[in-house]
């Protein structure tokens, strides 16, 4: 259990939502995954935000095209050794946010590695999104054009953001949620809350589930 004091909402009883989306944040250690999430969920920023150990879970309900969408947000540890754990949570993710730090070239280069991990462990239909964080910093080494080019190469949308200045943070999650909603509407994805029978199922990680055995 990690990040224990940052819960935003307890799981609701009864249906106070129209659909649910499982979203994952991945990327190298220190790129600001947790900061983006805390900014989005609690509208706070703390540069000395605690390190994520293993996996953190948060929930936020948002309004997408008049529908109440419950976003299940899974924040992952960036250190390589936790990869075995974090990939277990890729299962059934409808959206995956790949984050790098625009002031750290290495984290940008590693995005391709993360992309590969996603392809190995996540559902093919999962909507991906590339995010270059810390756009407020003067020490930037990765340009927006470079980010754009990589996103194009990978065939996924791209956003630059700053959790510190609250630039484009909401856009990340709303853009992703809308893209997922479009996929759901065109029946490519089945929402978690909409139909248990139609759950997306992908090659499972370490934890076996009894529910997602439809395919």
């Amino acid at each position: 259990m990690s990040g224990l004091r940052t819960v935003s909402a307890s799981s609701a009883n009864g249906k106070s939502y129209d659909s649910i989306m499982k979203i994952l944040l991945i990327g190298d250690s220190g790129v600001g995954k947790s900061c983006l999430l805390v900014r989005f969920v609690e509208d706070k920023f703390n540069p000395s935000f605690i390190t994520t150990i293993g996996i953190d879970f948060k929930i936020k309900t948002v309004d997408i095209n008049g529908k109440k969408v419950k976003l299940q947000l899974w924040d992952t540890a960036g250190q390589e050794r936790f990869r075995t754990i974090t990939t277990a949570y890729y299962r059934g993710a409808m959206g995956i946010i790949l984050v790098y730090d625009v002031t750290d070239e290495r984290t940008f280069t590693n995005i391709k590695q993360w992309f590969k991990t996603v392809n190995e462990h996540a559902n093919d239909e999962a909507q991906l999104l590339l995010v270059g964080n810390k756009s407020d910093m003067d020490t930037r080494v990765v340009t927006a054009d470079q980010g754009e080019a990589l996103a194009k190469e990978l065939g996924i949308p791209f956003i630059e953001s700053s959790a510190k200045n609250d630039d484009n943070v909401n856009e990340i999650f709303f853009t992703l949620a809308k893209l997922i909603q479009e996929k759901i509407d065109s029946n490519k994805l089945v929402g978690v809350g909409n139909g248990k029978e139609g759950n997306i199922s992908i090659n499972s990680g370490s934890g076996n589930s009894s529910k997602s055995n439809c395919c």
């Binding site: 224990l4 307890s10 000395s48 935000f49 293993g54 978690v192 934890g207």
Partner: protein, 497 residues
Amino acid sequence: MTLRYLFNIVHDSHDKDAVTREGFDSYQLSPTCSNSEKAEEQKEKKISKLLQKKDVNTLRSMGLGPLGFVNNTLRKDCWYELLKSQVHIDNTIEYMPRVDKHKDEYQVILDAERSFGGIVDQNLKSQLKRLLVELINRILRKYPMLNYYQGYHDIVCVFIMCFSWDVVEEKGLVPENDLLRDKIDMEKLTYCVEAFTLLYLRDFMMNSLDFSFEQLRVISALIKESSPEFYSVFNFDENEPLFAIGSVLTIFAHNLKPIKSGDTNLHKILFQIFDMTISLQSMHLPLIIYKNLLLQNAPEIMKQIEANSDVFENDFDLRHGVIQTVLQQKLCDESLWEEVLQITRHDSATASKKVLKRVRLNKYSTLLNTACGKPGSFKVATIIFYLNEQTKMNERYKKEKYHGVPTKSKAKALVQRLGHFLPSKYNKWSRVSLLIGIVAILYHLRTTRSLSLLLSLRYMVSTKLKDLSHMNINMRLINHIWMDPIRDILKLGHPTR
């Protein structure tokens, strides 16, 4: 804002029935103490005396009782004396070849950068961070086979906070060019971090998380033992309690470290958990505490699981999501913690043999030797032997995993599995001998077609495996182990003739 404010010490009323434990001298707060402040004062005096006498055994019982070692001035000396009694480190000896730079140092800096978030004084904060990096790098360079993990820094922070308490809390750094390290007992601090790492944290510092998972499985097995009902409803069999990893790897430091001024007295609980862990010399303790935390909240967890069963994509997510949400709120509840610690004090000090057998720990796990819950003194050389063996074993686990056990023949996998129970130098012998035994019996079986012999074969293999997996396997037994299958065959063959 100082840490005194952040950590705001309030004297609570504590259970006056302090702990007594088998094997320790009993300690009782005097019933005549009408208030807890007096009790605290009395305990402080007693601990000071024990420190003077270096009475480690009685100190242990102090650490286990309510309030633990009471305050950080006493605490740092108590930790030092206890850890010194558990391992003797001679700083003039180089136990293994050092390295100038360890592969994980970059990650250490990333995590140190995000530490000490609650400290406002920028000078002090940056010195604390530097000290954190220095202490961790020192360990990594001195014992290069250890791997840094995110969370280790949280544990080292607990030691730093304990040792620099009076500077951080009261005196501060005045004038500006004051050095923090000049104001704290660096020698003792370094010793404590090194000893604690070697004795308690080896399992977590391998090249993969396999041995950390083993410890998580102990939590499942403990729950099965204490509450089969919760265990079965919760379906632990199918799910490793991965949600517990942050708490376990950091001995709750990740959950209880103060990060903002609203955090009340949680740090006191954290220090007490460390007091208890070090006093018992037990890494079982954090696992038992986690089990008790779950069981204390079992009704709420079950309720939430039912209520949210259709909210999550799969059962694995459901459990993690619900437990994190429930514990998130509860872990800030000081009274819950007091309750859990009190229950833990009366719980068994270690997981039962049955539990450990179920989990099948690596045989050099800290849970079986240096932090097994029995007070003992270890030589660094012995610990390094354990560390070497664990490292080799971990590499084998990794290889097995990457090359895929399921694709291998079952027999090969079985023999390889068997290898994990034995020190590596006997592996080939034991594998070969067991194979000889099996082949010989199969041959005999072919010629005699005896069913009883087939049953004997099954018996031989299973008892052999049981023997080997026994954690206290002694060297004499190992020496002759390659002979045993042959002996067994001779014995088994005889009556059928």
